[in-house]
Assembly symmetry: C2
Homo-oligomer: 144 residues x 2
DNA sequence: TTTACTGCAAAAGGTTTGCATGGGT
DNA sequence: ACCCATGCAAACCTTTTGCAGTAAA
């Protein structure tokens, strides 16, 4: 907790880049409530805290924050990308309702073994896997 | 083989829609070599066969062809969606090289059991899962 | 002092849509 | 004949980028 900033500061200085208040604001806000988000939501949340940051800066910084390992891209929906804060949280996958959009996170440890198997079989160095399961939740099936 | 068209014809008439040469051209071309594609590639392939179809029609028809179960969306990359012909082929997942873009398809039958487990546990009617594994292939690791 | 970072606004690029025409059923 | 589907071009929307000013290091 607060750890994210430390990690980002090291990352940035290691790369010979600069840290800025804007970057810290973004990261702080993301981890203030580490739920899935898209650029627009994050922008509005930041505005809500009084930040005057521009969307351009958000777009420019998300790849860096991703490279640093604090967030990852999860899925693209309605024409835009969604992100998931991952730092400090175990790897998980998503079960998503196609109607209401509700998202349930679940952990599937077998996938680690699967990764290893695939890496060996096809001679790949696996970087990540993304498993997205979709369907209809109980509530949405009733109100069909 | 050719089966795709039959399926689409039934689907379309069941929905009270109309079949057209453009729609058949799209489907025929997709299954002429059923590899992953994006809209632009498909458009060029169609042009290559002499078709005068517009991109607008492709964009308007892909959702229908998807709903019919002939294709599915797989991943969004470089700002646009990629598609996968699925009809008549077993369900598979993708292992993708982050550098050269090479795609290896693999089958993981355990995922069916996983789907069932998730459905029961969270009371979801599962529609589909998408597992996308990324990393670096042997060739790209050597030429780093 | 250097030069990466920011905000702004314009541009880019994929996808959608309005409209008039054409063609299934 | 009805009205859905098409082509064209404009609109739309997310994301990227050029530029001039600002501020880390």
């Amino acid at each position: 907790m607060g750890d994210e900033l430390d990690r980002f500061r090291s990352f940035v200085s290691l790369k010979g880049l600069r840290n800025t208040p804007e970057r810290e604001d973004i990261i702080t806000e993301i981890f203030a409530s580490p739920d899935h988000f898209d650029v627009d939501e994050l922008y509005l949340r930041l505005r809500g805290t009084g930040s005057k940051i521009s969307k351009a800066s958000i777009y420019r910084n998300l790849p860096l924050i991703k490279e640093c390992g604090l967030i990852r891209e999860i899925w693209h929906e309605n024409g835009h990308m969604h992100y998931d804060p991952v730092y400090g949280r175990g790897h998980h996958c998503h079960l998503r309702c196609l109607k209401c959009g509700k998202v349930i996170e679940f952990v599937e440890k077998e996938l680690v073994a699967l990764e290893k198997r695939l890496g060996n079989k096809y001679d790949f160095e696996i970087i990540e896997h993304r498993l997205d399961v979709t369907g209809y939740c109980a509530h949405c099936r009733q109100t069909d």
